[in-house]
Amino acid sequence: MPFKLLLQLGWRNLFRHKRRNFMLLLAICVAVAGVVVMNSLIRGFQFDMQEAAVANLTGHVKMLAPGYLDDPNIEKSFTLVKDWQPHLPGVELEGWAPRIRIPAVIMSERETRGIQLVGIDPARENISFLDKVELAGDMLSDADDRRVVIGKELARQLETEVGRRLVIITQGIDGRNREAGFRIAGTFDADGKGLEKLFVFTGVTALQNLVDAEVITEVSIKVVSQLDESLAQQGLADSFLDLDVLSWQQLEPQAAAMFVFADSAIFIWFLVMMGALIFGLMNTLITAVMERIKEFGMLRAVGMRPRAVVVQVVVESTLIMLVGVVSGTLIGWLLVLWLSDGGIDLSAYAQGVELAGMRSVLMPRLLVEDLLLVSSLSLVFGILAALYPARRAVKINPLEALRR
């Protein structure tokens, strides 16, 4: 098979009908660039949602007392040995955080709200959203800090502010209510009012004192590489047979389902764009074959095998796709770079965005594997689009073609 010759012919034929091929290339470029940009936006949405799910005190893996998820209270708690450290061979940890998280009622002079009271060691909260929030006032100084940090929205609803006192009522380990006054150290401005209304943070030791038990209700663990998630989960499950060790997908099934859906959405979007494009490409190739019917007749007459004719049409289609895919990918990449400078502000749709578990600014995310997938599948589509025109070309009777 004289592949070099077919490649040479294919390349030269690209420039044979400059305007028509330019329009086709433009269509391929727009489609591929559109797919690249859309993929990066869907990926941005997907990872944003995942990061939010992990950062909302979940972590990649969490240890809980059995039954806590169904009835979260201080009785569903456990203890860790003194100076416990996660020991997970082969897993690189970004961090881990022990917490008490129990329902409580918070009261100001004017309002009362139901909240999640969370006892934390602030030094370990680099793995949660607390590490990234804007803070008015102070963060808790350590695990013994008896003050609270509340959300900006909750402060607004309670009509209170930094430095003022609040009363919190929660259940102690003996089942009786505990009530204590806390001064507000600071208010946090999270990416979403839901978090601001739900969580109130205090020192974990201070909360243990309030509930009269040196216990915790959860340990969150965040790994450096997501590939280690299951390894970490298995390692912890093996060490803590009497605890529930759950992944973020199990703890946040809706976010996990959306994560999977995003993968499908990317593929569906690609199929729609390429499906539309393939007909344009096929049409152009059929036109090109019919215009060159005499040439194909001559090639067959002088001895080009039918298989070589098929390869020639496929090579031409692949070359057009290749040029279009490379240009489209480059344009798409540049557009993603441009969009990444500040992201896309979705604050006008803040409520809906928050419901979807996203941040108010959507940052596109370009994955190399997506680019490779789009490029390779586009080329496959180019080859598939060429098969029918190639069949037409090979069915040309050289004699009839030469008579035209």
Binding site: Q8, L9, N13, G297, A301, V302, L399
Partner: protein, 232 residues
Amino acid sequence: MSDVVVRCSGISRTYQEESVPVQALQDVDFEVCKGEFISLAGPSGSGKSTLLNIIGGLDRPDKGDVEVAGVKLNDLNESELSDLRLQKMGFVFQAYNLIPVLSARENVEFIMQLQGVSPAERASRATAVLEQLGVEGMADRRPGELSGGQQQRVAVARAIVTRPVLLLADEPSANLDSATTRELLEMLRTLNETHGVTIVAATHDPIVMSYARRQVNLRDGRIVEDKQNEAA
């Protein structure tokens, strides 16, 4: 006979034209020996092009046997026919049929590429044949930049560069003026006489007939005259 290049025995061919059967060839026996220069002549519809196409493996007879260079064409499939045309035959078409995106040299070389000839040999043979046909100065020009006569010379160069056993020409002078036709025919005669290329040309041009050393006249699908042209 070992020097028979083409042997057609009792070939018939009928076409359907708008559901009307047209007998293009009727029980034709025809032989071409090595080194002959033959013109197939006759009015339109006489069967000359059909006979040429059957010899070239571009068409198949309904009846009868065709043998070219010792190979029986009836038994070959499309790919085998393609290979035979590539290795044993050269074609000169009425409309030149050069590939517009290739230069004259590339048009001559591409057929050798199909044959798998090495690049160095391709270049040397293409240069030699373009020189021989007097178009070496146009080697880098594309067909659109050449006159009709020059294009036909390049087409002949493409046809003979593979050193075919048989050169088939279908109305080679149809698009040429008289002077260019004579130039082309002088060239074909030289190829025939000095290089021993066997040539069969279907034509209705008296000038082409006058150059051929054997004239075969067809009418209504039959050979009505087969004579040597002493004046050629």
